[in-house]
């Protein structure tokens, strides 16, 4: 195996060890998402009994997609934070690993975790709460998944850069920043509900297109290229901005000495 792949594998395995030993990670990436699916499953059943106008399963699907996004961003950011909190980040960063290998490792760790979680959540939703998962919709689902992974990666890289630059005093952004985007991403309700200034902002958030599409295409046999394409383009823009910001923040943190101070 070439040296670069071995270094990526090293951090993938570190993340696996960390997950195995840490009840916090297990709760954050397994227990909370499954609890949310069950919660929204029952909300969906309740609404199904009392209304015929609300696309009830779309709430459950939104919960599944949101948790997938959250867990990926969590894994990317917390891969750094667990090392920082252990005062091991210097040891990792002074090994021959590059920044791109570092993020590739934690992104792969996140995608692996989310893939397993996503399948479990879908099975739960379909078997316990009757959410329809048709073959054409599965293709949409795959593209939703890929787009949300890109969004999660962009947020993860951006937050990690911020923590490098401003230190662990802002580490609550690691799990909190994404929630600022939840009300304007049309996760549980259509963007049309939002007042005008927020509606315009919503359309520059890539996740909005995924959630809007998921809501409208749950029972549709066709692939929603328009929303998926827009989500992908905006995700690419977000990833570019996040990578650029990270590079600047990382350099600034090493210039000011903050990077070394982050480990106390």
């Amino acid at each position: 195996m070439n040296a670069s792949l071995t270094r990526i594998k090293a951090l993938l395995i570190q993340d696996l060890y960390q997950t195995r030993h840490s009840s916090e990670v297990i709760i954050d990436v397994i227990v909370f998402p499954l609890t949310n699916v069950i919660l929204f499953g029952y909300i969906s059943l309740y609404l199904l009994r009392n209304s015929t106008t609300i696309p009830t399963h779309s709430l459950l699907l939104a919960a599944i997609l949101w948790e997938s996004l959250r867990v990926l961003q969590y894994t990317v950011t917390f891969g750094t934070l667990w090392n920082l909190w252990s005062r091991n980040l210097t040891n990792v960063m002074i090994s021959p690993i590059s920044v791109s290998e570092f993020f590739t490792a934690f992104t792969l760790a996140g995608v692996l975790k989310v893939s397993v979680l996503f399948l479990i959540m879908l099975v739960l939703a379909a078997t316990l709460f009757g959410m329809p998962v048709s073959a054409p919709f599965a293709v949409n689902l795959l593209f939703y998944f890929m787009n949300l992974m890109l969004s999660g990666l962009a947020f993860g890289i951006f937050v990690t850069g911020m923590i490098f630059k401003w230190g662990t005093k802002i580490n609550s952004l690691a799990w909190g920043l994404i929630y600022f985007f939840q009300p304007i991403s049309g996760v549980y309700f259509p963007v049309s509900v939002l007042p005008e200034p927020l509606r315009s902002i919503a359309y520059v958030v890539p996740m909005t297109y995924v959630f809007e599409s998921a809501r409208s295409h749950l029972h549709s046999p066709r692939i929603d290229w328009q929303n998926l394409g827009m989500a992908f383009l905006i995700n690419m823009l977000y990833l570019s901005i996040a990578s650029f910001a990270f590079k600047r923040y990382y350099t600034a943190s090493r210039m000011t000495g903050q990077f070394a101070r982050n480990e106390g």
Partner: protein, 306 residues
């Protein structure tokens, strides 16, 4: 002459309002242990951070094995390592898991064999399955050293590796370092506040103060810069006569009581002082001369600036 493992030229780091490292240049020859000493705030840690790339220099160059660090980062890092009492490994995973991760990060061939050998050398056998955060300070230090040796580095940067260790564990660690030097041609840049430790393991000492190198010599060479020695005499006789002789002689009287006197004076005047005290009619029953130590040099510099 072989190429130095590390060559630092005009390294400078400024923070808002002060210069942490001020235009320093030095080399570490292959196989040498170089101590980096200085009072708090002298710039030792900032220097180490720049040498590792976790802090960026404002000016100057760092070359490992003849290659520029910033343009050949991976190649340089593959051949150096770092151990510090201020850094740890991942706390929530076991010792063996941590070592496996770093073995992969450094792309070590036959990692299991290498880890087994280090485990035996550093007596980690019983700790391998323990979670890192459950280890004692001494055990953590030994694991950190094992991590630092995984890639067979040509140079290790050690930032106060014995801080927070009890004297027995510190002594064991120093013995390990001495053994490593004997077995391999390892170079070490070593910072510590313990002067005895530095005198024991370092071939040369670079003394930093206010970010500048103010001395670079062997430990013995540095102590020779302190010209005064301490003379302790036990005597039977008239204290006043002894005291007035010492005051007239120009030596610095540190302490005197009915039977003991302690003074500081240039080394070449010791014999004259002993002779002078005996000429006052005092009968000298014991003589003790303390030559200057590295600690005296350290205190001399530190106090000069307070």
């Amino acid at each position: 002459m072989s190429q130095p493992v590390l060559k630092v030229q005009n390294l400078t780091k400024r923070y808002k309002g002060y210069t942490a490292v001020d235009n320093i240049s030095f080399e570490i020859p292959s196989g040498k242990v170089i101590g980096l000493l200085g009072p708090n705030g002298a710039g030792k840690t900032t220097t180490i951070q720049m040498l590792l790339g976790i802090t960026l220099a404002d000016k100057g160059s760092i070359c490992y094995f003849g290659r520029d660090f910033y343009t050949h980062r991976q190649e340089c890092l593959q051949n150096i390592n770092f151990a510090s009492s201020f850094n740890s490994l991942q706390g929530k995973i076991s010792v063996i898991e941590n070592l496996k991760v770093f073995a992969m990060l450094y792309n070590i061939a036959d990692a299991t064999k290498k880890i087994d050998r280090l485990s035996e050398q550093l007596e980690l056998g019983g700790l391998m399955d323990d979670l890192y955060h459950n280890l004692s300070a001494g055990q953590k230090t030994r694991v950190n050293i094992a991590k630092a040796l995984l890639n067979d580095p040509k140079l290790i940067l050690m930032d106060e590796p014995t801080a927070s260790l009890d004297p027995d564990i510190s002594d064991k660690l120093l013995s390990i370092i001495e053994d490593l030097r004997k077995e391999s041609h390892l170079s070490i840049l070593y910072t510590s506040h313990d002067m005895n430790e530095v005198a024991r393991v370092c071939d040369e000492v670079i003394f930093l103060d206010h970010g500048k190198i103010i001395a670079h010599d062997t430990p013995l060479g540095l102590t020779k810069q302190i010209k005064t020695a301490t003379l302790k005499l036990v005597f039977e006789g008239e204290r006043q006569k002894v005291e007035s002789y010492i005051r007239e002689s120009g030596a610095t009287l540190v302490h005197i009581d009915k039977t003991r006197v302690q003074l500081k004076l240039p080394e070449q005047q010791i014999a004259e002082a002993i002779f002078g005290v005996s000429k006052t009619g005092a009968y000298i029953t014991d003589v003790e001369v303390e030559k200057p130590t590295l600690e005296d040099f350290f205190l001399h510099i530190a106090r000069k600036n307070t």
